[in-house]
Symmetry: C2
Subunit: 191 residues, 2 copies
Amino acid sequence: MATASSGSSRHPRRRTRPEVSVLRIGHRAGRDPRLTTHVALTARALGASRMYLHPPDPELAARLGRVAERWGGSFTVNGVEQWRPFVRDWDGAVVHLTMYGIPIDRAAARIRRHRRVLLVVGGAKVPPQLYRLAQYNVAVGNQPHSEVAAVAIVLDRLLGGPPPRSFRGATQRIVPSARGKKVVGPGATGA
Amino acid sequence: MATASSGSSRHPRRRTRPEVSVLRIGHRAGRDPRLTTHVALTARALGASRMYLHPPDPELAARLGRVAERWGGSFTVNGVEQWRPFVRDWDGAVVHLTMYGIPIDRAAARIRRHRRVLLVVGGAKVPPQLYRLAQYNVAVGNQPHSEVAAVAIVLDRLLGGPPPRSFRGATQRIVPSARGKKVVGPGATGA
């Protein structure tokens, strides 16, 4: 609109809150899927738009689909067959989470300037190319811990904490309470 | 000391940074231990002093002991046979992490006033008494996600982000770098 052309406040929203996706590589569908499930749920709860998963795991994607049906939002899990070309062709910033990287609190302001961000998390054995393909190699403390925790803290720094308590289209939502469980909505089952 | 008796700045340190322990209940030693391991590593990396584990799992405790040997610090995993009396007798604040609770960002300032804090995380099935035994029932967003993420964000809010990159007594430490892996110290193996 021609009515709002004053310089400094032109794209404040776009500039402070990128659209963030997570790419999880080295998932092993045969083994216990809980860790990857926790990465996906954390990504969704802390405001990421979607998770890409290599190799694809349709069962896990369906499970996350059911979470979004009940709890709202449009988070999806999308299978990726070849992660290298996917990362190379990403239209935005590629941020690799690794304990060897530079502190997130030193990199966050620069990363937030991008319109689209891909957070890449690997398993125990990360292919060395990833360090070169990534625009940023970023650490949440330089100690061994967890990709779930790293995703949580980095999303917090990029997007500013957990989004409002109910997501659009939820069939049930929680009423925060000091004691016990309070869930309301047509999808709520007694607690 | 009688020399430093001016009122307002008497206990500033103690007041802003409690000593935090994590209690993980409902661990299943037989099953895949990775999730509990991730909770423990995250607790350590984000500044908790120790993890209590119910039921005890000596193998997991030994594994975390080896991490502390290499990477420093005094974090330990201590088995707890009976979690109810343990929680009841805790000398400090008991903070139960649950998606049904009140937002951490509303409770953090009050919790930080305590000298000692016990963060309690359960598994999928949390015993209802826990909601009553806890002084605070606290949520990191009211969406389903992960106890690993919840521990990370709450420690971040209580202790102010990951501590300095090397812990006291480490035989190796990471030099943060924009590309690749850089580890130094007598315990470092080539990367």
